[in-house]
């Protein structure tokens, strides 16, 4: 059984299609990162999964439970940290977390300790007596994350969990999300931040204009880009035509650009090509002084699959 499964899921707002015939699955116990620019349909998908929105057509199941037919049951196994923090403006963070924990039957004996520990982990403890409306954007965002961490749901959803959070805070939230996965939760993270996706993802789904473009692990997505790995090799002497011809004969390189003592190669899988290249160079007596391998970024992956840059889309 998939933790999440959608079949031909569509959502239309007036004349705008936010999601189009989406077929999407998430395995139990993995962190699935949904990557896409604003307006790609990420938040709409999450809102349908957490039963706030009703799909226009198609089906969506969470832990095998239909989100339209049995919304209340879905909400029992699911927790979401919204993109915009939601809270009672005049309540304090600790009382917001207590309310949330009570709603999800967190053992009353453990509740207070769990809340205290989570607030300390996310550096919210000092702000426990502030009203929600007086929290900074980053604090409110961390409180939003804290709700899900206290709840420990079977399916945890985070919509852009670290927007407005400083770098140190980001790392803490990412580590806590991974910890949640290690404790058995399935996690979905929607983001348009490449670093966040690289740090968290077991697999990545790229959404673009309401379509699922591709879904796979990050290494496989990067390997799928022909010539995506760039290998820069430094030799002790000039790169000869003979060496270039020999390297061309190895296959696997889409472009070879020799210049003086250096050779720049665009290859699909650097881990396969580099051993062959070093062996061929050795046989021809060309001594290698340095090798630098650059993998494509997730932004490159996004450009490859959608034809557009992730950042330009914001």
């Amino acid at each position: 059984m998939f933790a999440v499964e959608t079949l031909s899921l569509s959502k239309r707002y007036g004349k705008t299609d936010a999601l189009r015939e989406l077929n999407f699955t998430v395995d139990e116990g993995e962190i699935m990162v949904i990557l896409g620019p604003n307006g790609s349909g990420k938040t709409t998908l999450l809102m349908i999964l957490c039963t706030i929105l009703k799909p226009t057509s198609g089906t969506a199941k969470v832990m095998g439970i239909d989100v339209v037919e049995e919304g209340t049951k879905v909400r029992e196994v699911m927790g979401i940290a919204f993109q915009e923090a939601r809270g009672f403006w005049r309540h304090k963070p600790s009382s917001i977390l207590r309310f949330h924990a009570s709603m999800f039957d967190i053992d009353s004996m453990k509740r207070q300790d769990l809340i205290e520990q989570t607030m300390k982990d996310l550096e919210l403890w000092e702000s426990r007596d502030k009203k929600f409306m007086h929290l900074s954007g980053g604090q409110a965002k961390r409180l939003e994350t804290a709700k899900v961490l206290v709840q420990r749901p079977k399916l945890a959803i985070f919509d852009e969990p670290t927007s407005q959070v400083d770098l140190r805070g980001k790392r803490k939230i990412w580590d806590k999300i991974r910890e949640l996965r290690d404790q058995g939760s399935t996690v979905i993270v929607a983001t348009n931040e490449v670093r966040e996706a690289e740090y968290l993802a077991d697999r990545v789904t790229i959404l673009h204009q309401g379509h699922l473009v591709v879904r796979d692990s990050i290494p496989k997505l990067k390997d799928a880009i022909a010539g995506g790995d760039v290998v820069e090799v430094g030799f002790e002497g000039p790169v000869t035509d003979n060496l270039v011809a020999e390297l061309k004969g190895l296959g696997g390189a889409l472009a070879l650009s020799p210049e003086g003592n250096e050779l720049r190669a665009k290859v699909s899988r650097a881990e396969d090509w580099v051993p062959k290249m070093t062996s061929a160079s050795y046989n021809l007596g060309a001594k290698i002084s340095s090798i630098k391998i650059t993998e494509p970024s997730l932004d490159d992956v996004f450009i490859h699959f959608t034809g557009k840059a992730l950042i330009d889309q914001q």
């Binding site: 707002y13 709409t44 039963t51 706030i52 209340t72 909400r75 939601r86 403006w89 009570s102």
Partner: protein, 257 residues
Amino acid sequence: MSEFSRLLLVARTDFSYFFRTKWLMAVLISLSLSDMLVTALVMGRMISPEYFSFLVPGIVTVGLFTAATDTGRRIWLALREGVVQYYMTLPIRTSGLVVAYIISGGLGGVVYSSALLIIASFAVHPHNILNAILLLPFMFVLATGIAGLAAFFASISRRGEIYWVYAQALQVTLVTISTIFYSAQTISRYLPGPIATIADYNPLSLAATALRDSVFSGELLNTTLLSNLLATSLPLAALGALAYWVILRTLRLRGKP
């Protein structure tokens, strides 16, 4: 935790939110008390001391109305602050959320008006405190009806100030066409017959009359009057519940209210 317990937890949280708005509370209490004092000092001498006794139950009823109407403000705020979307991710049905808000409005009205009643009892001696306690469930139903009306107006208001316009218009209408400040005889003398009938069956009039007769005059509880109070309040609660339910359903379909 059962769904009913969750419903009560939501109601309690919303109810507590009413009392967290301390400046609003201060304004409400000062307005209610100044009504009583001005009446005691001025109207009592201008008209008669009995008018003060007549008016105090009316002011308690208006207090109930004002507190129950605050439900609409909280619903509007919850829609604006996104708390409604948060509530919609909790393991509770949409109808449960609606009922929780209406219950919370009922509680707010009863607690606030009971506090006013206690303050008023220092100025006007209540003859039958037991009747006041027996009246509480009926006052609760009235408050849920008013909360329902407020929920209805909050649901159809796109902007906060529009909600206030609706709420003020409702207050002016319900208080003017009522026997809160003037007796039924006075109303029928100056206003056309149909309006006097509406004033008689206005749930606020019925509540004020029940307080006057049963608590401050010591008469027996009038079952017909109480039945009329229930019959006029419950449809209002149902109307508000339906309107709020529709707005939540719209939110699920369109993504915005």
